[in-house]
């Protein structure tokens, strides 16, 4: 998994210790300062993610001048970590009073530094989550937030996703979010299938040459090609005919279409429809896709405030798997693991194990619980 480089300042007067610390931060961009003035200057000039601060910056530093650097670093938004020859006591307590984020006693740098970095990353993830629900997908509902976070675990994968839900529930926003979290280099390309006739939809998806039909005044690339290496979001997928679904899926599977155009990496598919899961089956959506893949469908619920469990179905997300990403033996294993929810609700086929979620059955409701 890609881990971005951190920008780190190490404030340490001991050259040998600086070398030692550097050896444990090889994967990051590291700057050093060996005295108070150099450290203060660097903190003011540059943006660092973290700052490791030795409290005693020379042999006669009985005042622990490193303490004065803590508020300076914090004022610049730098995650401050204190290193000390003491493993506790008033000095360390004072460092915490001044607001340092973390501390370690010298002597076990390999483990201590790794723990510091892990804790820093967890804190970063938490603040990203907070911004996620205040800026990107605005919701205060904890169940929705929990379900969205669960859904975003699928974002880096290649799996197509089907989002079910009524109009106005944020299907497009969610699709955007999944694309953003996927880190795919290509663009997010949306298309509303309900806005076109079948012929025009085909032209939009696959492109057309000048003169191919009335109104085709120029060659145009299709959305499928435009979304290469990105995400192709098909809204209102339920209105797409079986014939078109087949054609689309064949193009995705073979990464080529129109007998000539080839996709580099293909696009990641994200579908949305207002159709309820049962209706989606009736409209043939399920049947069409079953021709090409083993479908994994997580039950999608209407917004229900009573549901408090971290079941991914609360987000109205379904997951569909393409054969191209599975071997047959794995598919048959998945089928064996398929379980049903409470028959009073819509049937649920939960095969989330492929995506490394460990579900367990709730003894009371018979529903599948996916850990958050």
């Amino acid at each position: 998994m890609f881990t971005p480089k951190l920008s780190i300042l190490v404030i340490e007067d001991d050259l040998l210790e600086r070398k030692h610390i550097a050896s444990h931060l090889k994967d990051h961009k590291v700057k050093f300062a060996s005295d108070f003035d150099a450290a203060a200057s660097k903190i003011k000039e540059r943006n660092f993610d973290l700052c490791f601060i030795d409290l005693q910056l020379n042999e006669n530093d009985d005042d622990y001048s490193g303490l004065k650097l803590i508020p300076l670093a914090i004022s610049k938004g730098i995650y401050s970590v204190v290193m000390s020859g003491h493993d506790g006591g008033p000095t360390v307590a004072r460092a915490h009073e001044l607001g340092c984020h973390d501390f370690y006693a010298k002597g076990d740098e390999a483990n201590s530094i790794q723990q510091v970095l892990n804790k820093f990353r967890r804190q970063q993830d938490k603040s990203k989550e907070k911004r996620l629900f205040t800026e990107r997908f605005i919701t205060n509902d904890p169940d929705t937030q929990s379900a969205i976070l669960e859904a975003l675990k699928y974002a880096p994968s290649e799996l197509p996703i089907l989002i079910l839900g009524p109009s106005g529930t944020g299907k497009t926003s969610l699709a955007h979010l999944i694309h953003a979290f996927s880190l795919r280099p290509g663009p997010f390309v949306p298309i509303n299938c309900a806005a076109y006739t079948e012929e025009l939809l085909e032209a939009e998806l696959f492109g057309f040459k000048k003169g191919a039909f009335t109104g085709a005044n120029e060659n145009r690339k299709g959305k499928l090609l435009l979304a290469d290496e990105g995400t192709l979001f098909l809204d209102e997928i339920g209105v797409m005919s079986l014939k078109m679904q087949t054609k689309l899926l064949k193009a995705i599977e073979e990464k080529s279409f129109l007998d000539s155009l080839r996709l580099e990496e293909g696009s990641r598919l994200c579908f949305a429809t207002e159709e309820h899961y049962r209706c989606a089956k009736q409209h043939g959506l399920d049947k069409a896709l079953e021709r090409f893949m083993d479908a994994i469908i997580l039950h999608s619920l209407e917004n229900n405030a009573k549901k408090r469990t971290h079941v991914i179905r609360e987000l109205k997300i379904s997951n569909w798997l393409f054969y191209q990403s599975l071997k047959r033996s794995r598919i048959s294993n998945l089928r064996k693991r398929s379980v049903k929810s409470n028959p009073a609700n819509n049937p649920v086929n939960v095969q989330a194990g492929l995506l490394s979620t460990k579900g367990k059955r709730d003894g009371k409701t018979n529903e599948i619980l996916i850990p958050a």
Binding site: D14, L15, L16, E17, K19, H20, I21, S23, Q56, E59, D62, D63, Y64, S84, G85, H86, D87, G89, P90, T91, R94, A105, K106, G107, E109, A110
Partner: protein
């Protein structure tokens, strides 16, 4: 700044500094020894030189504290 012993007794400043020096210098020596394993010869010589200096500084600190007693 006052320091406390593991038994929460207030330590005299000289002893507090000695404890800090011992902890810091030993940590530094330990780190230096770890670095030797993966260091090319020239780098290793530099590290050993630094380790020797650290050990001398530690010896001076211990001797200074001892002479005060």
């Amino acid at each position: 700044m006052k320091s406390l012993s593991p038994h929460n007794q207030e330590l005299p400043p000289g002893l507090s500094r000695l404890i800090h020096n011992v902890n810091s210098k030993c940590a530094s020596l330990k780190g230096g020894a770890e670095l030797l394993a993966d260091s090319p010869p020239e780098e290793a010589r530099e590290i050993l030189e630094l380790m020797a200096q650290q050990a001398e500084t530690l010896l001076e600190a211990i001797t200074e504290y001892k002479n005060r007693q």
